[in-house]
């Protein structure tokens, strides 16, 4: 084991390459379906299979998705997009080359913001480019030959390459989480790392703290969850420090992560690397992005999580924690946004979202799109509380469950039906309180002797006697007044 003292001498340097499978209906260079989960080799055509004489054609939607990611990352959008061939032989690669972008990716530069321990940091993006996915080799039990499923071959991908800007596994985790959140907000990728729609390779090196030159980097592949990316980085950090401490050279190599042991092992050295012989794809004309096209894509951009977070904090006065939870998913954030158009009690709205709404969704593992109460209805319920007609616990425990059943009645109607409108009239609350005080004379003595904590007990009695209808504010005021006398 590495001592904390030695570990503390070194700094970790991480850059990530993230592949995101785009949610287009058809493939990157032809009209075959991209639907997931179909029978092997059904989403194919002569073009996907690379039959002689076939030619690719660029999917405009995929270009727009890539543009959206670039706009979200504040990248420079390349107006003349040339594609390139990356040549290598593998059975799942039908043409013997992948059509990708080499020089001149669609997005250059840019940044992704992450927040760790309340501090914001930006991770620079080197580039985002478009390319096509390969098929899948399958080794079936009892089958001698390797079989290939080409359904995935040609599915559009973007590759998002970061600068080596991350300094801890937590930052890498936060970066990935942010990428996932962005692609989901943009609706361009479902962001599911376990199913492979988001894939990540990590370039990891270590250097002495304060050094201005990076160590030799190692590329790690085959991590199928955010957690495993973090584990692989932690492992590499220690492994590389140990090597340096032992006076060994760190070879430039590609390593693979084993999730069961949490360790990495060598796949191939960089010297064995394929020479991919990139050159401009002559079968595709350059895709030109006009100002009009860029503007129209820009105009379709949704609000992004960081923007919403800032609005929630600055305009709605919410704590960072609330804003973070509410912007975690686009749908929740949009619901909340709509809710805030109907009520000005933003903190109450936030409490409702993070309390009753979330727990209902979590309990039934529902998505917010399946939530039966509209933002307008929820706002009415909040208004009912604000007007003093019901209190929060009555609203959440008695009215809210009825609203979920969608009987078409307003919160006010439900409250009236169930006789839940609270008493805020002093004249009707006072007798109840007088009763409670009369019935608990011993406790009243104790209270007057200094045991102020008994106030809660008295309030409980009052609420019970009034069947929860007494306005707590009014009741509390009268109660204190009578007890103090």
């Amino acid at each position: 084991m590495l001592s904390a003292e030695i570990k503390d001498k070194y700094e970790l340097v991480v850059g990530l390459e993230v592949h995101a499978q785009l949610l287009t209906q058809s493939k990157m260079y032809n009209s075959d379906s991209t639907e997931y989960g179909n029978m092997p080799n059904t989403n194919i055509s002569v073009i996907t299979l690379g039959h002689p004489g076939t030619l690719p054609k660029v999917n405009k939607k995929a270009v727009e998705f890539a543009m959206k990611m670039g706009i979200a990352c504040e990248s420079e959008i390349n107006r003349t997009n040339i594609f390139a061939r990356k040549n290598y032989f593998y059975p799942d690669l039908p043409k013997g080359y992948q059509i990708t972008q080499d020089k001149g990716p669609i997005c250059k530069g840019g940044k992704v913001y992450i927040t760790l321990n309340g501090e914001e940091k930006s991770i620079a993006i080197t580039r985002i480019h478009m390319e096509e996915d390969a098929g899948k080799s399958m080794h079936l039990a009892g089958e001698v030959d390797t079989l290939v499923d080409f359904n995935r071959a040609g599915v559009p991908l973007i590759e998002i390459v970061s600068e080596p800007d991350m300094r801890s596994s937590e930052e890498a985790y936060a970066y990935l989480a942010e990428i996932k959140r962005l692609v989901r907000y943009l609706d361009i990728c479902d962001g599911n790392m376990e199913e492979g729609s988001l894939r990540c390779d990590a370039n990891i090196s270590v250097m002495l703290k304060g050094s201005d030159t990076f160590g030799k980097k190692v590329e790690v592949k085959n991590m199928n969850s955010f957690r495993n990316v973090a584990r692989a980085i932690e492992h590499e950090f220690e492994r590389q420090i140990q090597m340096i401490e032992a006076g060994e050279d760190i070879p430039s190599e590609t390593r693979t992560f084993d999730a069961t042991t949490g360790t990495t092992s060598s796949m191939r050295s960089k010297e064995d690397l394929n020479d991919y012989r990139y050159f401009p794809e002559p079968d595709l004309s350059p895709v030109l992005i006009s100002e009009e096209w860029l503007q129209s894509v820009r105009s379709e951009m949704p609000s992004l999580p960081r923007e919403l977070f800032k609005r929630f904090v600055n305009e709605y006065g919410l704590p960072d924690y609330d804003a973070g939870v509410l912007t975690d998913s686009k749908e929740i954030a949009l619901y909340f946004e709509e809710l805030c158009q109907k009520t000005k009690n933003y903190k109450a709205a936030s409490n409702w979202m993070m309390g009753p709404v979330k727990s209902y969704l979590n309990e039934l593992t529902l998505h917010i799109s399946d939530f039966p109460i509209s933002p307008a209805q929820l706002a009415e319920l909040i208004a009912l509380i604000d007007e003093g007609k019901v209190n929060f616990s009555v609203a959440s425990q008695k009215i809210y469950p009825v609203m979920i059943e969608q009987n078409g009645k307003t919160p006010l109607q439900i409250a009236e039906d169930l006789n839940l409108i609270q008493e805020s009239d002093e004249g009707s609350i006072r007798p109840i309180i007088e009763q409670v005080i009369a019935a608990n004379s011993a406790k009243v003595e104790e209270y007057r002797a200094g045991k102020k904590g008994l106030l809660g007990m008295f309030m409980g009695q009052v609420m019970k006697q009034s069947q929860g209808k007494a306005d707590p504010k009014v009741a509390s005021k009268i109660l204190t007044e009578l007890l103090e006398n």
Partner: protein
Amino acid sequence: MEKFLSFDEIKKSLENRETDCKSIVNYYLNNIKTKAHLNAFVEVYEQSALQKAEEIDQKLALGKAGKLAGMVLGIKDVLCLAGHTVNASSKILEGFESQFTSTAVQRLIDQDAIIIGRLNCDEFGMGSSNENTVHGKVLNDLDNTRVPGGSSGGSAVAVQANLCTVSLGTDTGGSVRQPAAFTGLVGTKPTYSRVSRHGLIAYASSFDTIGVFSRNVKDNARVMETIAGPDDFDSTASRKPVPNYSELLHFGKPVKIAYLKETINSSALQPKIKENTLEVLDRLKKEGHEVDEVNFPLLDYVLPTYYILTTAEASSNLSRFDGVKFGYRTPNAHNLESMYKLTRSEGFGEEVKRRIMLGTFVLSASYYDAYFTKAQKVRRLIKNFTEDLLNKYDYIIMPTTPTTAFKFGEHSNDPVAMYLEDLFTVQASVSGVPAISIPNGKDEKGLPIGLQIMANSFKEADLYAFAEYLSASN
């Protein structure tokens, strides 16, 4: 008796009810059998051609036939036709049947042209003699000891020997024009991107074009105007409208013609070809056209540029032939790597392997800038020079080839000598401009000489009109 030597003649015979499509097809089928030794056809679609002929005869009777009804056509073995084998003259595509039809061929079928068969060629269009083919060499009908040129040798001989009315070839560096010159035919390479490449088995994507062989300019123009134009399957195909070339053959005004000093003075040029070319230039001068000699200092760089870029593209285009999905797979492999290596070693011919190796080399990381990048720059220079010249002059004239048809085996052991055959044709390919080869007399042995005319991009109409004018006075 030779007949059906032009589509005009066929049309007239059909109009006068002297013949019908079925008789025309039978006539060609008979010729194909008689001339089987030429080895032009790899496969003859006898039944389907006859059946199609009957259908078109019925359409003709109803007055509903397409504009190419009566035209019988052969297609090079690199053009796809649904439900038919296509091999690119390679063992590696043994038994491969295409599931779709190339756009060019489909457009001809749509106009009721009849496809009579598939024509021999050099493997993947790589060659200048039609000797590099799994189907066996093609003989020049004029002298069976001589090559027909390549790579579209079968397409040339099929028209030369009157085995079909016209034929489709492909021209990447001269593969239509050179065999047209060697067989005394009209052969065109259109502007790059003028004809969709969908269904054309690629050799070098940024050079490949589909061209036409015919006995006369008008038939050539007819086929070209039918196959040209935009295509959803080929995003590189030009969207420019296509004029009706065959109706624009009238040529009246004086024009400006350039000839390149370096081509006419090339040491590789056969004297009789030089003489015939100069005679044409003289005549044009006398007929009131401006004819200027122009320097072309880049001539020496044209072939190296062409071979670097085409082999680079070919090395990648031919990667899909790996034994995994279709075509030939070696029976001798014991693992994945040996499957790849043996399949490709056994499946490709020598010339194709040479070009794959060359292309892989020039694209490799250590040599990329020295070769590929530099060749791209020189290509730009040649293209700019050619286009600038064609902005000043209407046409560039030069011999199509340095020699007339040579003997089999003459260049077999010397690839560079073989590559020199393309010396004059690759300029148009590197530049993307259209070019045509028309017959220009014969040499002392009676072998045809070709005259090449180049015009600026998308000036096919002008090119055809000028070629028609020159042919008429020849």
